[in-house]
Symmetry: C2
Subunit: 182 residues, 2 copies
Amino acid sequence: MKRIIIDMDEVIADPMGEMIEWYKKEYGAEPDKTKMIGSWVIGFPEEHREMIMERLRSPGFFRHLPVMEDSVDVLRELNKQYEVFIVSAAMEFPNSLKDKYDWLMDHFPFFTWKQIALTGSKDLVFGDYMIDDHVKNLKGFKGKPYLFTSPHNLTVTGYDRINNWKEAADIFLKHPISGSRE
Amino acid sequence: MKRIIIDMDEVIADPMGEMIEWYKKEYGAEPDKTKMIGSWVIGFPEEHREMIMERLRSPGFFRHLPVMEDSVDVLRELNKQYEVFIVSAAMEFPNSLKDKYDWLMDHFPFFTWKQIALTGSKDLVFGDYMIDDHVKNLKGFKGKPYLFTSPHNLTVTGYDRINNWKEAADIFLKHPISGSRE
């Protein structure tokens, strides 16, 4: 069984979307997505970035994130046909660790705790495929890397892209997903 | 630089020792170490094992564990001569995640968060050497495995053993540790 390593933030969880919604309510304004190259945080005005980082570091933030569209249906099927590991480079945000575990168990209950890893670096893990939105995670990977498209990585070249979970299904699933395909 | 993957519990942290001390105070008795084959929990009387498991699962337990003898001095040196990762299969105890991070940063401040991984399974990680007290973690490892001796694994055969951190220094360090060698 082939092994797929799947990232969390900006891939199956949507911290950027959550932050944008919160920012709209607080300030009645939206960040500039065209300025997010490298990091979505820099799409927000400079004077608010430290506050954005504080929210990211605070307990609870990663507990209540939106789920990326179609990710639940596609990962449920992937989990039948592949050895799936959810690997998040979460150690920079230690308050997120339990939140990420709880969020995964809530939204992806077909995974067991054995399939989750919260790391500092992804240089440590190996597999056949990796789906991630960050080059820093993909570049040392020995298997086949896929860049999951996000505003912050739109200018990156040199990687095959997955733009959404319907595309991932087309790449990885032998049998289409019942009920959720167009 | 060669990569060493080092476990936490029963290798650099001592949850069994902590539990035995607590049990002595509560019950004025000691567990039977000769009965710990497979798991140290079964060295405690059967009627107390569920309580032992509850303590393991509760927030805070892994925050205040004793440090295994000589592990700080030896790991400080290993960290200069190797790429060291601390990998704990902690996901079974989600309340331990932040505790383990905080404990490591307290006692091993020379590590960065990039060197820590809290996983469900260790099948996911690769390196040149792994030091672990559990065969389930060592058996799929592609590098050279070392079994760190603990009461629960005394009957295991087929692995090179490390009985304490002074032995680990003899195996891995080119230069002896200043001030802490006999």
